[in-house]
Symmetry: D2
Subunit: 342 residues, 4 copies
């Protein structure tokens, strides 16, 4: 059997660990051969291949990124995209595909599976917003990097009497903010699921200073003020301290806090550092187990499935479950942590 | 209500995070007062207390160790131990206890609960060998430290053509070895649950060298050779404290490999570094959530319970479940990873 | 003898290590007593003191920030500032001062020394731009944090074919950019001392992509385009990819590169994470030795001096040397590294 | 010109950074070609070569180990060793050699230079015991790893009332122990240069416990008791490779402290983790600059030299200076830190 492997979407620590596990087990336990498709769905679409065997996977386990490259190409938006993929798979003698990626990449996989392509999916999102699985790989790494940054900022906040706003990833779901905020001992966590009241935020900043401690506010990039509580400083304007702020929520929040409370505020945007580089042990373990299970699914002909962590077990669920509803932070989960905020 | 808190047993990153969560939520949400009992069960036994409030918990979240101190004192092995504890709780006006500890500490808690003391338990073991919960805090930190060490040793193994034996904690269960071995890309993992054959180990060392790569072997401190496959080099002797100081399994294995294969072998014993210092984000998050749930259990009068992680939820289970059967690595879980070994 | 200690200016890993060394050696070797002045020169100016002894210094060595707090208060800009300081020193029975800080803080110390106040200085700047000393503490920590970020960004750059611009601290001097750029294997380093040509930068970006590798550009916050080579995109405008950019040099550079080359570019601003948190071993060692030497200078009555590292020795130089000319990256030092850039 | 490069001796973070700098600058600035000699002096002795160009050096800067492999082979102990080397250099068209290594490797280089071979040396020792240079690369990494371990052990020592003995590398010189002991806030540092009195050590252990704090003792592997103060517990035996595997000084010290003071003591031997894995920023910077300067020396025909750090400058010194007297910790340097010990 000949199996094609591809990785799509944004960077995420653990991608190489999945690839390595798929290949090692595929070769050693099942006697499979592999074809690496380069740059996500662009690979099978345009016939971009690379050799992929045990040797290519040497030493990649602790490495961030993906040896296969990535893209956001969607073959369903390309004329005759599906036909081109079918033709290339046939040309390459590929019997089945392992597709590693997020909502978009697995969405394509789901549609291809419906059209009869033999494909197995491995979910990937550092945002952890996939309802089918307890955790996704990459998330633990992102949370640790954000937490280490918060650890470092505590001393600056306290020695210099400043508000520190830490912006982390999470466009739709606040998981990275919530976990790193809890782990880092933040004074406040603002997430997309719970629109914030800027007056309330500023009131808590002032309370915090009264108790002698400077506040650290962790905010998801997708957090928004609630209706009727809009912020008044537009993107790009100078604030009270002469800082020019960007349109990101972290910078806007810092400007608004300065304007309303008169306390100096600084923003740190963790940014792409969260999604690059070596994965934590947890992410390597999870990614490896996803890979092992995925190639077993291929061997068993259990196509149209994707891997999911449930407790400590790796289970297979229908692929479309990976592309349905987002897993958001519930009101209860947010409330659980609220005792530390404010 | 007045609540006593104690920590018992060996060091484990996350203890302070539990204490802080218990106190913060107890004070802010439930209006409780707290008494810190020092040095495990020795505290209530001998009436060793310290002040414990929100102020004492400032800044302790990222710190290893325990601000309450610890011991292995068992009040059931002390004359009139239980009566002394009752008397001290009464003297201190303590209505309920939160006991944070491993098998021994929670074993005492279980017996006291049976005798009518109002106690709630929080499980603690870096070994992760507790059947009631998916993971225990401290484990993720230990695994990451071991994995970082293995990462560093790869280059030495390969540049210098040496066998490297890495001994990690785990007297009865191989979880730390298994997870760090998978995450670190070890060539072999030896665990207590699966007695090893020294001839087989040496054969795999030689195979590995033939493929140009030097082997890294991760071994639990409690791993043992299988019957009929005993090693021939004797271990060292017991010292004043009963430690077998010299001749741990790592050193013995390295000696045996050198003697049998003629390849140079070195041992690294990770040791106490695994159980000290700042916890990972995962462990801080888990420890914090255990603490929040434990003080809610106290508030609800749900005594005789201990906290457990199931998937992503914190649940309460009967205390005796924390002190029953060990959670060992199953044959299937070991086999799953075996494709990487040898 | 009674010695006052203060820390001024921005945060810098190692401040607490200096304080601890000053106090430990002052108490144990010289029998001194100490007064902590809070918040930089504001402390002696307004008589803000705190107890400072061996006990207050327990456990602070690995901690970022400063237990004494800081400020940028300049007593020479306050009416009767010097008289107030003299009066407070007398009130507190303080015979001599140890002032730990940057150009501004030591500038005040220099003037006070000229006016007869017994003061010894310890230089502090993460920018490493002090000509009197080989290195300043805090710099090594900042460089390591920036280097770790660059390490993480390499995989994103390569897997996703993006230009990554990393903005680090350094308003006047490019030391952090130069050292972290060399250590992180950057493709280009832009520093304030060498105004850059944007056309040349873009040409090198394109060359780099031709060799299959995505470029990482490290830029000091104070880097500027050279005359005649101004950038055309103003702060706050949307760029070709619809990103709104801030006025910082990193964001502006990324916009300009996108507009000129059509390659997607992302910015990471390391920011305050560089100057908070636990110091590296080098910075703890240097800060400790500065502190030991500073209190010896006090004991010997060698006032008006500040500490400097020369090779591996700590020497004392006149205070005004710490506040004179900046140490900039020379053309030769920049050229030495240029073989890696472009 | 065609240049051979080799690395000899034990592992040391930064070796790959030197190789990369030598090759990058050699190719780009001087137009040289390179030959990689594998496994130290064994390479030119037995004609073991590998391709070495810019491509082979991609991505190796942050990697520990050496892509060239290493050995301790001494061609002067092999019959006709020098003639064989000459013949292989001629066969490979190699005009000059860059030899990267410690005392032994550079000792061979020195003798070969005397015999007319064109060779330039780069010093390498994690022990930092080379008198010609302020620091050697690898040392900063080793010190940071030891310091991080000590940081982690503090909480165990204090929460569990134990003596912790941390054994670090350093057979003849105590630099790693001294720097990591200062940086880690150790209670005692024992080094080879200052034989210790076991009674004095135990007295200080007891004093420390009286002040409520548990002691951490950092000891160089080469530390020895002073004459007349021998320890009474014998060490283990030599194994097949001549290692004294059991009964290293750390273990012996812990046993002796337990026996004499009745306090529980544990040993952590940092071991090979100190010399593997990714180098710190300082070591990458130093190794890179050594490499750049070394290939410039080749280009200038300045043979028989080795690179040295003096302050912040890289200088060239005669090769034999790298193989002469060891740089030991002086009495004054040890005394400077003694205020923290005991």
């Amino acid at each position: 059997m000949r199996v094609g492997v591809l990785t799509g979407g944004g960077d995420c620590p653990g991608l190489n660990a999945v690839i390595r596990a798929v290949v090692r087990k595929g070769v050693q336990a099942h006697g499979f051969e592999f074809v690496g498709y380069r740059n996500g769905w662009k690979g099978p679409l345009e016939g971009l291949t690379m050799p992929l065997g045990v040797e290519e996977c040497r030493g990649i386990l602790p490495r961030g990124g993906t040896i296969l490259g990535s893209s956001r190409t969607n073959p369903f938006k390309v004329e005759d995209g599906v036909e081109k993929i079918r033709a290339n798979l046939e040309r390459d003698g590929v019997d089945a595909l392992v597709a590693i990626g997020g909502e978009d990449t697995l969405g394509v996989a789901t549609k291809l599976a419906d059209l009869g392509v033999d494909v197995v999916g491995v979910p990937k999102t550092i945002d952890n917003d996939l309802s089918a699985t307890d955790f996704t790989f990459g998330f633990d790494t992102a949370v640790n990097i954000a937490t280490e940054a918060i650890d470092r900022l505590h001393t600056t906040a306290e020695s210099h009497h400043r508000v520190l706003v830490v912006e982390v990833m999470g466009r739709h779901a606040g998981w990275i903010a919530l976990h790193s905020g809890i782990a880092g001992g933040a004074s406040m966590v603002l997430i997309p699921e719970q629109p914030f009241d800027i007056e309330d935020v500023c009131a808590r900043v002032e309370t915090r200073f009264k108790s002698k401690y400077a506040p650290i506010i962790v905010v998801s990039e997708g957090a928004v003020p609630r209706e009727g509580g809009e912020m008044t400083i537009a993107s790009g304007e100078k604030d009270a301290f002469g800082h020019v702020r960007l349109g990101g929520i972290g910078d806007r929040l810092a400007s608004e806090i300065e304007a309303r409370t008169g306390k100096e505020a600084r923003t740190v945007v963790i940014g792409h550092v969260q999604r690059g580089g070596t994965p934590t042990a947890f992410d390597r373990w999870l990614a490896t187990r996803f890979g092992l299970q995925a190639i077993d699914a291929v061997a068993e002909g259990d196509f149209g499935t994707m891997m999911a962590l449930r407790g400590t077990r790796i289970e297979r669920v229908p692929l479309r479950d990976g592309t349905g509803e987002l897993k958001l932070v519930s009101e209860q989960e947010y409330a659980e942590a609220a005792v530390f905020f404010g």
